[in-house]
Amino acid sequence: MDWDWNNAADSIPLLLKGLVVTLELTLLGSLVAYVLGVVFALVRRGGIPVVSQLVYLFVEFVRSTPLLIQVFVLYYLLPPTTGIKMSPFVTGVIALGVHYACYTAEVYRAGIEAVPKGQWEAATALSLPRRRVWTGVILPQAVPRVLPALGNYTISMFKETPLLLAIGVVDVLSSAKAVGAETFRVVEPYTIAGILFLLISYPASIIVRRLERRVGQL
C-alpha cells in the first residue's frame, strides 16, 4: 500500500468543505441539546402529571435505542405518517440534538441538585418569583458546574456525525467516500478525514479537561 501525496492534496479542499458541514451539524445539534436538555430537566422536575411521565418515557426510549434508528425514524418514517419532510441536514441536526438532549437533561438534573438547599430557602424567604428563582439563582449556579459534561457530549456528538452518511448528509466522511469513488484511491481521503477529526477532538477534550479542573474548584 503506497501513499499518493498528489491525491492527498487534491482531496483536501473537498474534505474541508465536508468538515464545515460536520462542524455546523455539531454546533447546531449541541445548541438543540443544551436548550432542550434544560426543558426536559425542568419538565421532569416540575412534575406536571402526564407531561412529566411522557418526557420520562421519551427520554428512556431515546437512551435505549441506537442513534441510527432514530435518524431513520425521523427521515423515513416521519414524512409518510405526518407529512413533515425535512432535508438530510435538518434531520441530522434534530436527531443529534434530541438524542443528546436526553443525556444533557440528566446532566442538568444533577447540576440543579448540586445547588445547596439554602439557596432555595433564601430565594423563598425573599419572595422571589418562581421564574426568577430559576433564572437568577439556580441555573446561574447549576450551569457552570455542568459545562464540562456538556462539552464532553459535544465532542461525542462531533464524532458521531458521520452516521448521517446513511441519509445522505455531505459531511467529512461522505466527502472522503466521494473522493474515493472518483479516484479509486481510498487511503488518502479516509486518513485525512481521520486526522481532521483528531485535530479538532483532541484540543477540544484538553479544553474540557481544563474546564473540569476549574469547576472542581467551585
Binding site: E121, A122, A123, T124, A125, S127, P129, R132, G136
Partner: protein, 254 residues
C-alpha cells in the same frame, strides 16, 4: 404580630411541636432558647413557610399564614397567597445563604426589584443605606466569596431588611461564625433592635446577647413552652427545673 394556635408539626413519627401556643407583640424582641431538637428552628421555618404545618394555625399581623379564610372556613393557602404574606417576613440563616453568583449590592437589591417591584435606583439607594448600617459600604462590588463569614452574615441581614419586613427571623445567625466575628454581627443586630420597630424572633445560643436585647425570652423543650419571662427574671431566677438545667449547661460550656 405573631400568633401560634395549637400548632402541631412532626417529621415522620417524631413530633417536633405539640399543640404549641404563643404570641409575640408588634415591635417585640423575643428570643427562643432551649436544648437542640426542642423545635426552636422549626418555629422560624414554619413562619417563613419553608415547612408545612400539620395542624393548628399561625397568624402574622392578623392574617393567617398557611391558611386563608374562604366562606367563613379556613382552607390551606395556595402559593400565590403565600408569596404575598411572605413579603412581610424576613429571615437570616445560620449559613448566610447569600447568592454567590451575584455581587453584594445585587444580593440586596434583587428581591426589592423582583418581588416588591422597586426601580433599580430605589433599590440601590435602599441597599447603600443598609450597607452603611451594617458597616460594609466599601464591599458593595465584592462577591460574597470574597467576604469573611461575619461580613457575609451582615450582608444577609441587610438583604433581609431591604424587603422592609414587619417580622425578622434570626436562626442561629452566629453559630457558623468564627468566635472573633460574632461580636460584629451581634452589634449590628443590637442596633436594629434599638433603632427600628421591627418584630424580631431570634433563636440563639448567645445568652449574654439574648439578655441584653430581648424584651422576652421563651424557654422551649420538646415542642412546648416550658416558661417565659423578661431576660432578667428568666436568667437569674428560672422557676422550672428544666430551664435551670439548660441554663446551667449553657453557662458551664461558655
Amino acid at each position: 404580630m405573631i400568633r401560634f394556635d395549637r400548632v402541631v408539626k412532626s417529621y415522620g413519627d417524631h413530633v417536633v411541636l405539640r399543640e404549641l401556643d404563643f404570641t409575640v407583640a408588634p415591635g417585640e424582641f423575643v428570643t427562643l432558647i432551649g436544648p437542640s431538637g426542642s423545635g426552636k428552628t422549626t418555629i422560624l421555618r414554619l413562619l417563613m413557610t419553608l415547612e408545612k404545618i400539620d395542624s393548628g394555625t399561625i397568624q402574622v399581623g392578623g392574617e393567617y399564614l398557611s391558611h386563608r379564610e374562604r366562606g367563613g372556613k379556613l382552607v390551606p393557602a395556595d402559593e400565590k397567597y403565600l408569596r404575598g404574606i411572605r413579603r412581610r417576613i424576613g429571615m437570616v440563616f445560620q449559613q448566610f445563604n447569600l447568592f454567590p453568583n451575584m455581587k453584594v449590592l445585587q444580593n440586596i437589591t434583587e428581591a426589592p426589584i423582583r418581588s416588591l417591584g422597586l426601580s433599580k435606583g430605589e433599590a440601590e439607594a435602599r441597599a447603600v443605606d443598609l450597607l452603611e448600617m451594617v458597616g460594609l459600604s466599601e464591599k458593595a462590588d465584592a462577591h460574597p466569596t470574597q467576604l469573611s463569614g461575619g461580613q457575609q452574615q451582615r450582608v444577609a441581614i441587610a438583604r433581609a431588611l431591604a424587603m422592609r419586613p414587619d417580622v425578622l427571623l434570626l436562626d442561629e445567625v452566629t453559630s457558623a461564625l468564627d468566635p472573633e466575628l460574632v461580636a460584629g454581627v451581634l452589634a449590628v443586630l443590637k442596633q436594629i433592635a434599638a433603632t427600628t420597630d421591627i418584630t424580631i424572633l431570634c433563636v440563639t445560643h448567645e445568652m449574654q446577647f439574648a439578655r441584653d436585647v430581648s424584651d422576652r425570652v421563651i424557654m422551649f423543650d420538646q415542642g412546648q413552652v416550658v416558661e417565659e419571662g423578661t431576660p432578667e427574671r428568666l436568667f437569674t431566677e428560672p422557676s422550672q427545673p428544666r430551664t435551670q438545667e439548660f441554663l446551667k449547661a449553657v453557662i458551664q460550656r461558655a
